[in-house]
Subunit: 250 residues, 2 copies
DNA sequence: CGTGGAATTGACACCCGTCAATGACTGTGG
DNA sequence: CCACAGTCATTGACGGGTGTCAATTCCACG
């Protein structure tokens, strides 16, 4: 990392360390097979390692801010992140939660259209957008991979639109728990019993509800024997198939 | 013919003919500068013309069906299209309206995740997905263009999530009218006074409301002197700035 | 002119939001 | 180790915005 290469991260998160990329090489990256880097050839990684910076941030640290120049793109290598948009009066819509392997940084007109914040301590690998674009020209398979990631995000966004526009509170929560469960399974974790990295408020802002309604929906699912709660953060799915029926509105 | 979406459909059969690609060449395509084809070099167009098929469809014609194998990608060359998802019990969420130049066909796991239907008589150019992928390998600038289109769609999807999750009926309708207005301006049409190609039901399914609520919101905006209605389909924006304030929830 | 579907309007119900109180959990300092 | 504070989650009472159901009204089209 060159001196004077000041970044939005360095300024906004005094507690987060930004270290040169030598502690962990892309070759060892656990997130690699899940991420945009999957399928990149050997020499591509060499080039990637030259433009990438590892970043570690504490919980609650801001990562990008809506409206700021989109200088960087990120890959989450561990932890959880929330991505959201705000209305001027403070109403918030969480548009996604990012886990290990997830990409952050699609943008238009060179500005971020959303803010992102760490939910847990996170590690990210960060690219300069300009430098990554140069790399994309030389490694078209990476561009194809990004297109595929964008397609997947688009499909997830469309699922969320259906949820926000047409599902009841109960259906929304069931959908959320199942989607999260499947993502955890893909990461090799337990999809039946897991911790929620996000607060009730974050879940509410994701599902287009209030914390009270989310809380009532949790209680209802628990009373119906569909889930178990151990504290507020630990969930066990007792009847995934029935949850699936509810999530799809059947 | 509705003003906002006017094109000459005279060339094409009103009943939906599929003709060999020789009546209209890509070189003459009006949608070209707006579409995925923008910036493609001369020889790219030659190749494109070989794999593209012009399709003309009447209003209400289905274009793609959720769950079907995603064999094709499309570019709208005239008319208007609605894209939507359904829940098993029939609840519908319109995830977008497509106008001239808009792309249709991003998919994951080789299946469409949405259905699409013509709102007006439409013309489309249709590609085989497999053949287009071959073309993308030889013309990386086209892949880059697709990535940019996907980024834009993602940003639009995120705006819609904010709308669906957090805006009131009045704010949703104001947002919808303004967004449509801006798109029409980009197409060289009048952004102040225009026809709506979609029914109240379609608008309701887009905004996550019922037709009754949409109708009441229209009436309210009219009584407040913010818009004028000439019949149900023709709208005039009388105070775009105030509409903008409402749309952003200020 | 009739006719039929779409849009509008009205009356009412209900799900979810709002406001408020209580309970649970976490970390801290005495 | 416990008392305490502060935050977050839960629960309850109530109100409001939007949905539901039904009755016109409006228009496009024949």
């Amino acid at each position: 990392m060159k001196a004077g290469f000041s970044t939005d991260l360095g300024k906004t998160s005094p507690l987060g360390s930004t270290c040169p990329h030598n502690l962990e090489l892309c070759g060892d990256c656990e997130a690699k097979p899940l991420s945009m880097c999957a399928g990149l050839p050997e020499d591509g990684f060499k080039e990637l390692e030259r433009i990438v910076t590892d970043v570690a941030l504490p919980a609650q640290a801001p990562i990008v801010h809506e409206g700021d120049p989109a200088l960087h793109m990120f890959n989450v290598t561990s932890g959880a992140v929330k991505v959201y948009k705000l209305l001027p009066d403070g109403r918030r819509q969480v548009i996604g939660f990012l886990l290990t392997g997830d990409f952050l940084g699609f943008s238009i007109r060179d500005a971020y259209a959303y803010s992102a914040e760490a939910l847990t301590p996170v590690t990210l690998c960060r690219f300069s957008r300009r430098q990554l674009e140069g790399l994309l020209e030389r490694y078209p398979q990476m561009e194809r991979r990004l297109l595929s990631i964008a397609s997947n995000e688009l499909a997830a966004a469309q699922d969320l639109m259906l949820l926000l526009g047409r599902k009841t509170a109960r259906e929304r929560l069931a959908s959320f728990l199942l989607t999260l469960s499947r993502r955890l399974i893909r990461l090799g974790a337990d999809g039946t019993s897991f911790d929620l990295a996000m607060s009730r408020t974050d879940i509410a802002d994701y599902l287009g509800l209030t914390t009270e309604t989310v809380s009532r929906a949790f209680t209802q699912l628990r009373k119906d024997g569909l889930i178990d709660l151990d504290g507020a953060a630990h969930v066990t799915l007792l009847d995934p198939e029935e949850l699936e029926s509810i999530a799809e509105g059947e």
